[in-house]
């Protein structure tokens, strides 16, 4: 027991929280990569695309959780509502990041790759994308931490994850579960953040080669 909550309950809710915040992060990244690429490839596409995806972020999360069943035809308590909402938020943050990252590749590098006979697709995947990793992972860290924090709101519509400890504690006038929930949320966010930072380090060995 911790703060009046069984450890196993905290563990279960933590896993649910990780699933509801983490899976949309991956989906968001997979969708944002081509969107961000399109925005760098076709300059005229960039302003409407970045404004359009950014617009998603202006919709309050609770409102989005409630509206999605209406749009998707899902049930109000369906996990899919939360997964889709969080994926939309991830896309809102990451499309811009991917575009910035790909845009940050030096022109000379790109020209060198082209001169070596790389086609556009191969150059994007083998040269541009790896070089954009630091910028993309920086955005991914922001998205990961925000996702973990926003998902807890879903407790208000009855979708269980760590946020459930907040509503339970509040309804029982008991600070214990709330503090346990906050601690677990912050801990999860920090672990995800550190994990992505580590991944970024592993994926960019050349950044350390120069320093050593």
């Amino acid at each position: 027991m911790i703060g009046g909550v069984a450890w196993s309950t905290v563990g279960d809710l933590l896993l649910r929280h990780l699933y509801l915040a983490g899976l949309p992060l991956l989906l968001g990244l997979v969708i944002s990569l081509p969107l961000g690429w399109l925005a760098t490839r076709y300059r005229w596409l960039a302003p409407p695309m970045i404004a359009g995806t950014g617009l998603l972020y202006t919709i309050p999360s609770l409102a989005l959780f409630i509206l999605l069943p209406l749009l998707l035809g899902t049930r109000v308590l369906d996990d899919a509502n939360v997964l889709v909402a969080m994926t939309l938020y991830a896309i809102a943050l990451l499309t811009r990041t991917v575009a910035d990252g790909l845009g940050s590749v030096p022109v000379a590098t790109r020209q060198a790759a082209t001169a070596m006979g790389y086609g556009e697709l191969r150059r994007t995947l083998v040269v541009d994308l790896p070089l954009a990793v630091p910028v993309i992972t920086a955005g991914l860290r922001v998205a990961a931490v925000s996702n973990v924090s926003i998902v807890s709101v879903a407790a208000l519509i009855g979708v269980s994850q760590l946020g459930q400890l907040f509503t339970e504690g509040f309804n029982r006038n008991d600070m214990g579960p709330i503090l346990v929930g906050i601690g677990a949320c912050v801990g999860l966010a920090l672990v995800l953040d550190a994990g992505i930072a580590l991944l970024s380090r592993v994926l960019t060995p050349w950044l350390r080669a120069g320093a050593a």
């Binding site: 946020g163 600070m175 929930g181």
Partner: protein, 229 residues
């Protein structure tokens, strides 16, 4: 379901009266604007100081990162449980909410302000020093106007988070558009929840558009043209 929601939204009774959408929007905006102003009063001076002197930069960066991880719903409940028994009247409900909203808004405003000042072209700063401006003249006549685009975009993202979180805050009993989401759920009227969600999304968009307009008005033409090229 969609037609029920449409019916609710188009019923004049939904909009008027003390519990109507218009009155709740005013409450929602009042709380949000108070929180934004309080956050700006704290964060803008500190951001200007950090940007101008370069001191405490790590604090601004880490604070912004760490605050993002804190779930506002949990903090809201903690603040309410702590403050509710100690205050009376309307204040007992609104003060914890405003406090949480201010806490939420300080990091984006702070980082927007200091990033704005930091991004000022050093040549402009040197030129100002060269023509004999004092440090406070440099701050107010050169750095502040040049920092405005990033400062205002910090305010905009803070305001979006405030409006979204003020919705959640209805759960502790304050007024505002969140009432439709919370009360609709309590009475199992999904059309009220969905209608309220549409209204609050529209309000968030509207406020963002208004703030974008303000940004356009107050940011110097010279800066806009420079960044467009």
């Amino acid at each position: 379901m969609i037609s029920l929601t449409w019916q609710w939204l188009t019923d004049p009774q939904t909009w008027t009266g003390p519990g109507g959408i218009l009155a709740q929007s005013v409450t929602h905006l009042r709380i949000s604007v108070i929180a934004l102003i309080l956050a700006a009063l704290v964060a803008v001076p500190v951001g200007l100081y950090i940007g101008h002197t370069g001191r405490g930069r790590w604090l601004a960066i880490n604070l912004a990162g760490a605050f993002r991880a804190i779930p506002s719903l949990g903090v809201l409940f903690v603040a309410t449980l702590l403050l509710l028994p100690r205050l009376s009247g309307n204040l007992a409900f609104e003060l914890p909410v405003v406090l949480v909203l201010v806490l939420l808004a300080v990091p984006p405003v702070l980082s927007g302000t200091y990033a704005g000042v930091e991004a000022v072209d050093p040549a402009a700063r040197d030129a100002a020093r060269g023509v004999g401006m004092t440090e406070s003249q440099i701050l107010w006549q050169v750095e502040f106007p040049a920092a405005l685009p990033l400062l205002i975009s910090g305010l905009r993202s803070a305001m979006l988070q405030i409006i979204a979180t003020a919705t959640i805050a209805a759960i502790v009993g304050i007024g505002g558009l969140g009432r439709y989401l919370i009360d609709g759920q309590a009475s199992r009227q999904y059309e009220v929840m969905a209608g309220g969600a549409i209204v609050v999304a529209a309000l968030a968009l509207l406020v963002d558009v208004v703030m974008a307009g303000v940004q356009r008005l107050v940011v110097s033409r010279g800066l806009v043209e420079a960044s467009a090229t």
